[in-house]
């Protein structure tokens, strides 16, 4: 196809807001892999579902590009959050929950999730690989907040630790994460 079309982020956003299909193709080719990675880190056990979510995410990006506000962050950050939210929504959807039903049913659902999260250590990809470098008590909190989508309040309840501690630990964990990502 000759010279590949490239865009700066600014140009790309403008082209997308003008409904440029070519720009959208470029966006997909350049970001689908990174977004697919985060989706698979959240939906760990069902590739087909992860594919569906990726499809939904890109359709949503195309639809909602008008609402993207550059002053609030980079395009990738915006897309990453769309992908993360869509994955967590799927994880919490009824159909997904039902498909998980034949697995263990712990007495305390919260504790169950927490234990599962601590034990789940295999095949880590992407950000989860960096998380391994964190101390376990920090890692589990980031796991629950970022990859499972629990609020700080929910985590405080399920781990039986004060809300303030949850917040501080997550903040500290994220600061460490920043150092690892550099």
């Amino acid at each position: 196809m000759g010279i590949p079309t490239t865009y700066t982020e600014q140009e790309l956003v403008l082209a997308l807001k003008e409904r440029n299909n070519q720009a959208f193709g470029f966006l997909y080719d350049n970001y689908a892999g990174a977004l697919y990675s985060i989706i698979k880190q959240i939906i760990t056990d069902n590739s087909e579902l992860a594919n569906d979510v990726l499809q939904e995410v890109f359709i949503n990006i195309w639809r909602k590009i008008e609402t993207y506000d550059q002053t609030k962050g980079r395009l990738f950050t915006w897309m990453l959050n769309i992908a993360r939210n869509a994955s967590i929504d799927t994880l919490r959807s009824k159909s997904y929950q039902n498909s998980q039903k034949n697995q263990e049913l712990p007495d305390n659902v919260y504790k169950g999730v927490a234990n599962q999260t601590i034990l789940q250590n295999v095949d880590n990809i992407g950000l989860k690989k960096v998380l391994e470098k964190l101390r376990p008590e920090h890692r589990v909190l980031v796991e629950l907040a970022y990859f499972k989508g629990f609020t700080h309040e929910e985590i405080a309840e399920m781990m039986s630790i004060p809300l303030g501690t949850v917040k501080t630990r997550i903040r500290n964990a994220l600061l460490q994460l920043r150092e690892y990502l550099k």
Partner: protein, 278 residues
């Protein structure tokens, strides 16, 4: 405020990764407009996050791209016309694009828009309908209330009158029964022999054509005495009729509207004898 301290609090990472609370987000966005160094720090983290994510990308199956492009109304195999060399897209080209390629309008988007409009219309209709039903119910309620008040007044009126009539020891009750012509007709006469007052309580009298009325008679020594006319619509009301001191019997006939000087006995509806007849 100490911006450096704020930056080192982990708020930036929290914000970028979508873990900040609503109020933290609002505060962060507000401070970003005041402190450029905050924006710079945010960008730095965003870039390293993006860089890491790109390095750790997982290639999705190719059919996902096909489905996505189909969904947004693009043909994935579409190639630029050979006369136009591939080029770096600039803003001008982007602006021309919609004019040059009308066929590439996103079908899904249109469907979604159409569906949204339909949904909106549907909801507006439902809203209107519910509102209308509410109004109808309120109106009906008002009407029922008025009707109830009227009925209550009427009932009170009847009770008041009945108290006067029924509780008076001098009042005799004459039970009027139907004749062969009108076996179902029935009424009661309350006759106060001291005051000569005659009250009529219609229990069951068929409705008459508008040119006819019922007429009550007192039979005194086999001679009828007119005690007044009434309509079947006065049902359930105590009617005060004309007075009479004597009566061996009371009778009701159907007469022309306004009454007749003498009863049409063939049309006698009901009759009741008094103690004076014995």
């Amino acid at each position: 405020m100490n911006v450096q301290e704020y930056i080192e609090s982990g708020i930036i990472e929290s914000y970028v990764m979508g873990l900040a609370s609503e109020s933290e987000r609002a505060e962060f966005e507000r401070l970003c407009s005041e402190y450029p160094e905050l924006v710079a720090a945010r960008r730095k983290f965003e870039e390293s996050l993006e860089g890491y994510a790109s390095e750790n990308a997982v290639t999705p199956p190719p059919e996902v791209k096909v489905k996505v492009l189909e969904a947004i109304g693009n043909t994935p195999s579409r190639k630029p016309a050979s006369s136009i060399p591939p080029k770096i897209t600039t803003m001008q080209v982007q602006k021309e694009q919609p004019v040059n390629e009308p066929a590439s309008t996103p079908v899904l988007l249109r469907l979604v828009a159409a569906a949204s409009v339909l949904l909106l219309v549907g909801m507006a209709y439902l809203y209107y309908q519910t509102k209308q039903e509410n109004k109808d119910l309120a109106d009906t309620n008002d009407r029922l209330k008025v009707s109830l008040d009227t009925t209550r007044n009427v009932l009170q009126h009847i009770l008041d009158e009945q108290k006067d009539v029924v509780s008076n020891p001098n009042v005799t009750v004459v039970n009027m029964v139907g004749t062969q012509v009108a076996p179902k007709s029935s009424a009661n006469i309350y006759w106060d022999s001291t005051s000569s007052n005659v009250y009529l309580v219609v229990k069951n009298m068929p409705k008459l054509p508008s040119d006819q009325q019922y007429q009550l008679w007192a039979l005194i020594d086999s001679k009828p005495k007119d005690l007044g006319v009434f309509d079947a619509t006065d049902q359930k009301m105590i009617l005060k009729m004309k007075n009479t001191q004597k009566a061996q019997a009371f009778a009701i006939t159907i007469e022309q509207k306004g009454g007749s000087p003498s009863p049409t006995l063939q049309k006698m509806q009901s009759i009741g004898k008094t103690l004076q007849s014995q």
